[in-house]
Subunit: 129 residues, 2 copies
């Protein structure tokens, strides 16, 4: 299957971290429900144009955190017994991200109204098409 990752090598954040964060979001949101089979290490590495080790790091980390379950010869699945506080995780994640952006706006002397204007512009662009 193809997962719509949005990865950038120009991003200052390490690749493995970008992939891990997004994969986690797909899982927690329910986009990838429990028992869903993920692409193999080699397939995802190829899709995202990176090495198998990088993907392996992501899958290992998320297995440690209980989100994934891997079996040799079979593949890697979203943990069937996964239970997450979806709303809490979602809220905390987005709140933290917005906190950082708004701190950025303040550093750049952007007014509250300007901030809202840009936000609503970007929001409309993402949702109304």
């Amino acid at each position: 299957m193809h997962i719509p990752f949005k990865i950038s090598v120009d991003h200052p954040e390490p690749l493995y971290h970008q992939i891990k964060t997004q994969l986690k979001e797909f899982i927690v949101s329910g986009y990838l429900p429990p028992d869903t089979q993920l692409p193999s290490l080699r397939k995802l590495a190829k899709q995202l144009e990176c090495s198998v080790i990088t993907i392996r790091r992501v899958y290992d980390d998320l297995e440690q955190e209980g989100l994934l379950s891997s079996k040799q010869g079979k593949g890697t699945f979203v943990n069937p017994e996964l239970t997450v506080e979806r709303e809490e995780y979602t809220y905390d994640t987005i709140k933290t991200a917005l906190d950082n952006v708004i701190a950025q706006c303040i550093r750049m002397n952007l007014s509250k109204d300007e901030t809202s204007r840009i936000f609503n512009e970007v929001l409309a662009h993402h949702f109304d098409h």
Copy 2:
């Protein structure tokens, strides 16, 4: 002088990049106007609890980009001849940041209304106190 950097070692982004980005924002916004003297390498390294090399990298990079001007024995200053398209830079920077957060919201299946609600909550918290 003391600059209100917001740096986190837990952040997945390299230190030098966090510092560079924020310093650039302070300059472009006018918070640090042209001809302002910045803290010395050693002072800022001490303030931010990192090595001189890291700060040097930031100052060197921003000097390459024309935002800073360094002179041996004197110090580092915001380039007196700095001209930036403040509004364009500000808009592009914030738009990109919000683009990424809203992509995150979509990955997590957050609705448009929920997204707006959290945004306005965080915005109020930053501006109304």
